[in-house]
C-alpha cells in the first residue's frame, strides 16, 4: 500500500456561535492512529465530520496526500467512515446490507466467499438471511465492522466504534485496527474507552 498522509492545517470550527476548536494542526502518516479525546460536546464528532468532508471547516484546510479533500472522488474512495448511525437498513437482510455497501464503495471484486469470511470474522456467520431489524445493537455494530473488514481502505474514520460492543467485540475491533495499521493504513477515531493497541503509534489530541 502506498504512503498516504492526512494533513490538517489551522482548522477551526464554530458551532452555534461557540468556538469548538481553532488553529488545530496535525499530520497523520501511514501506520498511525489518531485518537481524539475530550468531554461530551467538545467537538470530536464535528472534527470527524470535517475530516469526512460533510462539513466545511470555518477556517483551515484538510489535505489528503497533498490534495484538498473537498469534492475529491479519490479521497472518498480511500476513506471509510463509521459514525453514530450505522447506515444499516432494517428491512434488508445482513447479506443485502453488505452487498449494497460494497456496491457503493466501488469494490472491484467482493465474491460470496469474501463476504462469508467477513461475516465469520465478526461472528455473524449464519446470520446472512436475517433481516437487520432482528439484530441487537451490538450485532449491528459487528455488521458495520464487517464493512471495514471487506473494504480495507487506507483511512478509517471511526466515531465511537466501541459503543454497544461486548468485550469480545471490543477486542475484535482492536484487532482489526492493529491489522489496518500493519497493512499501512491509518485511523482517526474518537473513543471514551481506553485503546489497547500496544504495537501501534497512537497520537492523541485533546479537545477542550
Amino acid at each position: 500500500m502506498d504512503k498516504h498522509t492526512l494533513q490538517a492545517q489551522k482548522l477551526s470550527c464554530i458551532r452555534d456561535d461557540r468556538l469548538l476548536f481553532s488553529s488545530l494542526d496535525f499530520t497523520l502518516h501511514s501506520q498511525q492512529v489518531l485518537l481524539l479525546e475530550g468531554k461530551n460536546g467538545s467537538g470530536k464528532t464535528s472534527l470527524l465530520r470535517i475530516l469526512c468532508g460533510f462539513r466545511e471547516p470555518d477556517a483551515g484546510t484538510v489535505q489528503w496526500c497533498g490534495e484538498p479533500i473537498s469534492g475529491s472522488g479519490q479521497y472518498r474512495a480511500d476513506m471509510t467512515y463509521m459514525g453514530h448511525l450505522d447506515g444499516i437498513k432494517k428491512e434488508l437482510t445482513v447479506l443485502e446490507n453488505l452487498q449494497f455497501a460494497l456496491a457503493l464503495a466501488a469494490q472491484a471484486s467482493a465474491d460470496a466467499d469474501a463476504i462469508q469470511n467477513a461475516l465469520a470474522r465478526v461472528q455473524l456467520a449464519g446470520f446472512d438471511d436475517m433481516p437487520a431489524h432482528a439484530l441487537s445493537a451490538g450485532q449491528k455494530r459487528r455488521l458495520s465492522l464487517a464493512r471495514l473488514v471487506l473494504a480495507p481502505s487506507p483511512l478509517w474514520i471511526l466515531d465511537e466504534p466501541f459503543t454497544a460492543l461486548d468485550k469480545q467485540g471490543i477486542a475484535l475491533s482492536e484487532q482489526l485496527m492493529a491489522e489496518q495499521c500493519d497493512r499501512g493504513g491509518m485511523i482517526v477515531l474518537t473513543s471514551h474507552h481506553d485503546l489497547n493497541l500496544p504495537s501501534t503509534d497512537v497520537h492523541r489530541i485533546r479537545l477542550s
Partner: protein, 224 residues
C-alpha cells in the same frame, strides 16, 4: 462498469425496500383513487361538468399524491445514516441520487399511471384524450419527483418540514400542472397539442439534467 453497478444497486435496493414496506406504495395511490372517486359524489349527477373538469381533477390529484409521497424519498436514509454512506461513495453522488429518485418514481409515480385510465373512464373522459392523459402523466410525474427531490433534500433535516416542503415545491409544480392538464383538455376537443407536449418533454429533460446537483448540495447542507 462499477458506476452502473452502483446505480442499479441503489435502484434495486430501494425497490426491495418499497416491496418490504408496502404502505409506501399504497398510500399515494390510495389517496389518488380516493380523491378522484369522491369528486363525482361531491359534484353531483352532472356528467358534462365532470367530463369538462376531468383533466384538472386527475392532474391535481396526481400532483398532490406525488407531493404526499415526497417525504419518504430521503427520510429513512437520513434517519439511519445510509445517506451519509451514499454521499461518501466514490461515485458521483448526483448519479446515485438520480437512481434514488428514479426508484422513487417507479414506486410512487408509475402506479398512478397504471390506474389513471380507469379513473379517467370513471369521470367520463372521452376516449381520444386517454392516450394523451397517459402521455402527460408519463412525462410530467417524473418531473414532479425530480423537482420535489430538491425540496425534500432541503427539508429532510427539519423535524417538521412538511409545511415548508409544500410551500417550496408547489410553485415549481404549477407549470407542469398547467401544461399537462391543458394538453389533455385540448386533446378532448381534437385540437393539436404538440406545443404542450414539447414543453413537458423539455421540462423533463431539463429536470433530469439539472436537478441532481442542487439535490446533492441540499443533502450535504441537511447533513450538517
Amino acid at each position: 462498469m462499477s458506476l452502473s453497478a452502483a446505480f442499479f444497486a441503489i435502484i434495486r435496493r430501494d425497490l426491495l425496500l418499497a416491496l418490504r414496506r408496502r404502505s409506501e406504495i399504497a398510500n399515494p395511490l390510495f389517496f389518488f383513487v380516493l380523491v378522484i372517486t369522491l369528486f363525482p359524489l361531491g359534484v353531483g349527477a352532472k356528467p358534462h361538468l365532470l367530463q369538462a373538469i376531468a383533466p384538472g381533477i386527475i392532474w391535481v390529484s396526481a400532483l398532490l399524491a406525488a407531493m404526499l409521497s415526497l417525504d419518504s424519498l430521503f427520510r429513512s436514509d437520513f434517519d439511519d445514516g445510509s445517506l451519509e454512506q451514499l454521499l461518501l461513495s466514490p461515485h458521483p453522488p448526483s448519479l446515485l441520487v438520480l437512481g434514488k429518485v428514479l426508484a422513487h418514481w417507479l414506486v410512487t409515480g408509475l402506479p398512478l399511471l397504471l390506474i389513471a385510465p380507469l379513473l379517467a373512464v370513471l369521470l367520463g373522459m372521452p376516449g381520444q384524450s386517454l392516450g394523451v392523459l397517459l402521455l402527460t402523466l408519463l412525462l410530467g410525474t417524473p418531473v414532479l419527483s425530480l423537482l420535489g427531490a430538491i425540496g425534500v433534500a432541503l427539508t429532510v433535516g427539519l423535524r417538521r418540514g412538511g409545511m415548508i416542503l409544500s410551500l417550496l415545491v408547489l410553485p415549481l409544480y404549477v407549470p407542469v400542472l398547467i401544461f399537462a392538464s391543458n394538453a389533455v383538455e385540448m386533446a378532448g376537443s381534437g385540437l393539436p397539442i404538440d406545443a404542450q407536449l414539447n414543453i413537458l418533454m423539455a421540462m423533463l429533460c431539463m429536470a433530469l439534467v439539472l436537478t441532481p446537483w442542487p439535490t446533492v448540495a441540499a443533502l450535504k447542507m441537511s447533513l450538517n
